[in-house]
């Protein structure tokens, strides 16, 4: 791989991040909603109480957070703080910082969504490959129909069904939360806590797995079918290679490339993927944090989470881009070849 290519990709990565961060800055500002007033609206709606000098209080907070400056100046302040790694403070939960809030929520999301994404990728890809493989047993091929049905049902709807039947009616698993409240004062590294955590994660994980398994399986099956007729597969069969070798080395390896690209995007999108499910199950991850921030127009939290998401997608795409030659020898970044 040429160094020049790597540099170009990194520069492109910065360009992508800057563009996305700029769009991210202006979108929430298009709303007329004033986040400081919204904070006091929350107070008035939730408590019935409004301070008598509300406008004065709002003005003093706008001054404190720089929201009274012209938009261009606010944009430059925003870019400058992002470059310094300072994501600012939450407008709704001041004095808590955005980094604090993200730091608190991210591990839950990475654990739940990261685990389910990898698991569904592995299971779905394998299932899809087998479903498209002509020599697979018929029961494997028949999984395609239920997978198509599941793929059409959103994880949120599946979640509602699971909660109702398994948690509410059968009472087999907890309805919400990440661990049993009152049982532990705070998260801890102990076997009882981990088991409790697993128990709470089963339903949200199942909702996500069931809803996305079809996506991976159908994608892989589709690619697998196109690979089957390729000359190199036919040649391998005529050479008398073992079916296992043909399956993994000729069939799966050539069909998996788009899956890997999707996996990189899925990793970057785990924040948005989990918003509804995290909310439904009361799972304290970054998706529900983003949802709350959007509802409250908490600009700085939205920017912080958005920026991290953009960064994650950009970096994952870069990594996958660099890994392509290892996965598919046909891809070379050396121009001479």
């Amino acid at each position: 791989m040429k160094l020049g290519y790597l540099v170009r990709r990194i520069v492109f990565l910065f360009f992508v991040i800057w563009t996305a961060a700029t769009v991210l800055f202006f979108i929430p500002r298009m709303s007329r909603v004033n986040p400081i007033r919204e904070r006091f609206n929350e107070l008035a709606r939730g408590t019935g109480y409004s301070p008598k000098d509300l406008e004065q209080i709002i003005a003093s907070y706008e001054l404190k957070f720089g929201l009274n400056k012209p938009l261009g100046e606010q944009y430059l302040d925003y870019l400058s703080s992002v470059l310094r790694g300072d994501l600012g403070v939450s407008l709704m939960r001041y004095p808590r910082t955005v980094a604090e809030l993200i730091g608190q929520a991210l591990p839950w999301t990475v654990a739940l969504l990261g685990f389910t994404t990898v698991l569904t990728f592995l299971l779905g890809t394998l299932l899809g490959a087998l479903a498209g493989w002509p020599k697979s047993p018929s029961w494997v091929k028949s999984t395609v129909t239920p997978l198509m049905v599941l793929a059409a049902i959103p994880a949120y709807t599946l979640g509602l069904l699971l909660i109702y039947f398994i948690a509410f009616r059968a009472r087999l698993l907890p309805m919400a939360g990440a661990y049993t409240t009152g049982l532990f004062k705070a998260p801890e590294f102990s076997i009882p806590f981990i088991l409790d955590l697993a128990k709470h994660a089963i339903l949200p994980a199942f909702s996500l797995i069931l809803a996305s398994l079809g996506f991976w399986a159908l994608g892989m099956r589709g690619m697998g079918v196109t690979v089957q007729g390729e000359d190199y597969v036919n040649f391998a069969e005529h050479k008398g290679l073992k079916q296992k070798r043909i399956f993994y080395a000729y069939y799966v390896r050539n069909a998996i490339l788009p899956q890997v690209t999707s996996l990189a995007l899925a990793f970057g999108a785990i924040v948005s993927a989990g918003i509804l499910v995290e909310n439904l199950y009361g799972f304290p991850g970054i998706g529900s944090l983003l949802n709350a921030a959007i509802l409250a127009n908490d600009y700085f939290v939205i920017y912080g989470i958005g920026f991290i998401t953009i960064f994650a997608v950009g970096v994952s795409m870069l990594v996958v881009d660099l890994l392509y030659p290892l996965l598919d020898p046909r891809i070379r970044y050396d121009r001479k070849s």
Binding site: V33, T47, Y49, T181, P192, L195, A292
Partner: protein, 623 residues
């Protein structure tokens, strides 16, 4: 050794391992939900509960330990000693945990922090009673001219770090409110407080700029969501920026509980060393721990109460509360299992409008809107027969009743509750409107924008019904539950605003003050708070000024109120629609003696500042 596995063996092994993991997780320590067998609750013989007062017993008697419900393994406090409440947060997590400083911007008392801070007095609106707390005065003591308030503090009070609570702390609290413009009581403190002195450790004297017979109630007492907590001067004065300080779990405080907070829960544990126990001011409650669990969505919240995971949750919409009380016989409400399944909150809702904006500037148009509202139908359709629709911008509370009863005949005479589309037509044609082909009122070719701005989470049951009524009355009504709804109200945009009052609870002044011209922001500027009507009337202002100087309970206040409400109704400043209900499910599995209509020692909103009184009132069920 051959370690090769066939694919079949691999799949079998994986399936076994997976099943084992699932079973192990399911078999983890039982969630503390094992409840006593649900039996039909015969309402516990309601021995009216007195609002807590200082105990005179030499020592608090240890509470008889009831049979303990199965405690979750590892839990320090058993379930039947824990009050579990599903409240606050967003999407199932708290983002404001550890903000325990009541002056921090992200602070809220609603998620349990009210258990850590204390006022000089509590006021129980349902019992119509003052509860002296940090002050020993039965209620605020003013001089004859209401220009001075003298406060005597309770002896023996201590902060959680052992330092005594003195008049210096009270003085610091008030001085800080006066000087810091970001604090919620800055406006009142700046306007009214001339000086605060501490002549000795146990006495505080507040001098006012002008007579103020309500300062003690409005600012210094805890009721509903309002009131000022006293903070430790020796800690708070050390902070560089008081609103930028989180406080943390170990903040020095005065209340009965201490806290440990995470994103997933806020735990409040009883303080054995609380000054109130040491001085025999209060007996220890049965509750040893309060656990606040963040809300994910209201359906799940209701289900958690039905499943005995939680003892109560935020007030529910009608369909949910009806379903909850039907599904679990142990779930009751303020009115037992009868409609309206709740109690009246201090937030009666009106249809507000910008009275400076055409065509709402015309009292005739406002009256025509009022004539379109069929309050009897609202009662029967939305509230299943309970009398909740109202003609008052006041909650029907015991202390206000004498004023409201006095005004009722006038309301009848003026026809405020009258639903009459013929009168609507008379008013609108008189104001120069005609009806177009679709039956909507028009003037100069323009229809009236009667879009109702409101909030889906709390108005989804009533606003669609109002929209239908208004459309039948010739107003082009629609619903806006968007996140710009509040901004529209503050900006005075065309349309109607469904919003509450949150003002008077003991005397009628505070609500009338909302319509005082001093809050009438010109068009083009924002009018936050509950000042959306932008009403301006010098005659009305004079009456409000008289009311301001008249102490609650003074017979003159009745006459003043009658004059003010006459103008309010004749001008139809806003269109009063309903009393506001809190429909809270009380699960009696672990805790009994919830406040009810038969035993109204308090309102049951545990998220209010009066939460400690509720904690003292609840009794462990003998389960």
């Amino acid at each position: 050794m051959k370690a090769k596995l066939t694919r079949r063996q691999m799949i079998q092994l994986s399936a076994m391992a997976g099943t084992g993991a699932v079973l192990a997780a399911c078999g983890a320590p039982a969630a503390p939900t094992a409840a006593p067998a649900a039996e039909a609750t015969t309402a516990p013989a309601a021995e009216p509960t007195a609002v807590p007062e200082a105990t005179t017993a030499p020592a608090a008697e240890p509470t008889a330990a009831p049979t303990e419900a199965p405690a979750a393994a590892g839990a320090e406090v058993p379930r039947n000693r824990s009050l579990v409440l599903n409240h606050g947060g967003a999407g199932g997590q708290y983002t404001n945990q550890n903000i325990t400083n009541p002056y921090g911007t992200g602070y809220t008392h609603q998620e349990g922090n009210a258990l850590m801070w204390e006022p000089l007095w509590y006021y129980s609106v349902f019992a119509d009673k003052w509860v002296p707390w940090m002050s020993i005065d039965p209620e605020p003591q003013y001089n004859a001219a209401y220009t001075e308030l003298t406060i005597k503090l309770r002896p023996g009070m201590e902060w959680s770090d052992g330092k005594p609570i003195t008049s210096k702390d009270v003085k610091y609290t008030l001085d800080t409110q006066k000087s810091n413009e970001k604090l919620l009581y800055h406006a009142q403190s700046k306007e009214f407080i001339k000086d605060v002195t501490a002549p000795d450790d146990m006495t505080v004297v507040v001098t006012f700029n002008s007579p103020n017979p309500r300062f003690g109630f409005e600012v210094l007492s805890y009721k509903f969501d309002t009131g000022l907590e006293i903070v430790p001067e020796h800690i708070f004065s050390q902070q560089a920026d008081i609103v930028a300080w989180q406080g943390g779990d170990d903040i020095v405080h005065s209340g009965m509980f201490s806290t440990t907070q995470t994103a997933q829960q806020k735990i409040y544990d009883i303080r054995e060393d609380w000054w109130g126990f040491k001085t025999d001011f209060q007996k220890k409650p049965d509750i040893q721990r309060v656990i606040m669990v963040p809300l994910s969505d209201m359906t799940t919240a209701a289900q958690r109460v039905v499943n005995n995971e939680c003892d109560a949750c935020l007030d529910l919409r009608p369909a949910l509360i009806r379903s909850a009380v039907q599904q679990n016989p142990k779930i009751t409400t303020h009115t037992g299992k009868d409609e309206p399944l709740g109690y009246i909150d201090w937030w009666p809702n009106s249809l507000w409008m910008n009275t400076q904006l055409e065509p709402y500037s015309s009292p005739d148009v406002r009256w025509a809107i009022n004539y379109s509202i069929d309050r009897d139908t609202l009662d029967s359709v939305v509230f299943l027969g309970a009398k909740i629709a109202s003609i008052f911008p006041y909650p029907e509370y015991p202390a206000l009743r004498k004023y409201l009863d006095e005004a009722r005949p006038l309301g009848d005479e003026l026809g405020v509750r009258t639903f009459d589309l013929a009168k609507n037509e008379e008013k609108m044609t008189g104001a120069g409107f005609t009806k177009d082909a679709d039956g909507f009122w028009v003037k100069d070719g323009n229809r009236i924008n009667a879009t109702i701005n409101g909030f889906e989470s709390i108005h989804a049951d009533i606003v669609p019904v109002l929209v239908e009524m208004l459309r039948k009355g010739g107003f082009e009504a629609a619903i806006n539950f968007g996140n710009d709804a509040y901004q529209n109200m503050a900006d005075g945009k065309p349309g109607l605003y469904m919003f509450g009052h949150g003002a008077s609870v003991v005397d009628p002044y505070a609500t009338m003050e909302l319509y005082d011209s001093q809050f009438s922001a010109p068009n083009g500027t924002t009018a936050g708070g509950n000042h959306f009507s932008r009403y301006k009337n010098p005659d009305f202002d004079k009456i409000v000024a008289e009311m301001r100087a008249t102490p609650p309970g003074d017979p003159k206040l009745v006459d003043q109120f009658m004059k003010a409400i006459e103008i309010y109704w004749k001008d139809m400043i806003d269109v009063p629609i309903i009393q506001w209900l809190h429909r809270i499910p009380y699960n009696q599995t672990y805790w009994t003696n919830w406040p009810t209509a038969d035993n109204p020692y308090l309102n049951g909103a545990y998220w209010h500042n009066t939460f400690p009184l509720l904690v003292l009132g609840l009794k462990a069920a003998e389960a």
